[in-house]
Symmetry: C2
């Protein structure tokens, strides 16, 4: 089956967590909104009265007749189909729990540049952004890293993936999180990375996966930019 | 099986979405941290090196040997076991997608009083809270209600629950969301409610469910208060 993926065409955003899974698995998919008339198709699908299960927002995935939204939910669906999660219910719930924790981390990363809400420009909330980013870099980034490093420590005897022996989509998501934080908060990450050797080793291991590496170097990978979730505003690190 | 639920003992918080499901289903559970030495037991479990799948934060549920965290993930697990979601994978994914959308709404409600981060007191971010709350009440509450009203409109021929014919844990969660918003933003809700007759009718239908109604009137239901996610600060509505 060819999956249809729908998302804003100019950013990685939350959709990138889904793209990495599809790409690493070598799945057959089309990034609809990046193709001709794709944005119109996406808006039509979102507003259609004939879709019984409408998404609140992109990204969403069309898989046959199913339309599935919410990034972590899409990965919950794709994980077993792409061989990116073990079969047992316990392992799938644990993977999903980790993914939802990453989703919380992503939201907090977004809020550093939009703490007053998404309907205002960054320029109109710069002072608040500085305050929020100070808390994020000093308290929240270390708290999340401590947690994931702890998970990796427990699983290290079982080979160093987040779930233990078996590689999963959550490893891809932690890779993406680290890439995003490096882009948005390079000074903070430079200071912090040495404290989290297991997370960084996992990041490198993911980066070396052949299909993943080919994707990251390809034009299919949209570059980080100032419209996405991870944005580089030097003033937010001072 | 007796479920063990772990959460901060003095607030409804995110855990309330899980409690409503357990209570409405008449499930056998213990709210561990509200019992004797319960907080110590919760902290011990969170910090234990012998728990392979540690939670990042409460709430979490112990179900036999499983420890499951993240509110929506707990409901994903409990839903079929409590008869609060249809059996098909498509219906479960749809229910979970709606639950994750409510989770986003809950986070935004929380951020109205803590837009600068959870490590600062409300009093130290009051000005920012006013600005964030203005956006939340003017833009975000209507946007989420428009969405859920639209979902109910599509499903109304199929009886008016969010999933159509079958009552589910997502109906309980929308009930809780409305109760929380009424507590935190009474003036806003008074103005808005008439625009969303289907959502409000669903709220009333849930409130009339016998087990749910008994729970809400019992001492097991912690009252809304100024420590939880939904807080009533009159200055945030001006």
């Amino acid at each position: 089956m060819r999956y249809e993926l729908y998302y804003w065409p100019s950013i990685q955003g939350r959709c990138e967590f889904v793209r990495l899974a599809l790409e690493d698995a070598g799945a057959d998919y089309v990034d609809i909104a990046r193709g001709p008339k794709g944005m119109a198709a996406m808006m039509r699908l979102m507003e259609s009265r004939s879709v019984n299960n409408p998404p609140f927002a992109p990204p969403f995935l069309k898989a046959g007749k199913l339309v599935i939204a919410q990034t972590a939910n899409i990965l919950l669906y794709l994980g077993p189909r792409l061989g990116l999660v073990p079969q047992s219910e316990a392992a799938r719930l644990w993977a999903h729990q980790l993914q939802l924790t990453i989703a919380d981390w992503v939201s907090e990363a977004h809020d550093t540049h939009h703490p007053m809400g998404g309907s205002l420009y960054y320029e109109d909330q710069k002072r608040e952004a500085k305050r929020r980013a100070a808390d994020f870099t000093a308290e929240r980034i270390p708290k999340f890293f401590d947690y994931f490093e702890g998970v990796l420590q427990r699983s290290s005897k079982r080979s160093g993936y987040l779930l233990g022996k078996q590689f999963s989509y959550v490893d891809l998501s932690l890779f993406q999180m680290i890439e995003g934080l490096r882009y948005a908060f390079p000074r903070t990450m430079k200071k912090l990375e040495k404290k989290y050797p297991r997370a960084l080793a996992l990041r490198d291991r993911v980066a070396a996966r052949p299909r993943l590496a080919r994707y990251v170097d390809s034009p299919r990978r949209i570059s980080f930019n100032q419209e996405g979730i991870f944005r580089y505003y030097p003033e937010l690190e001072r």
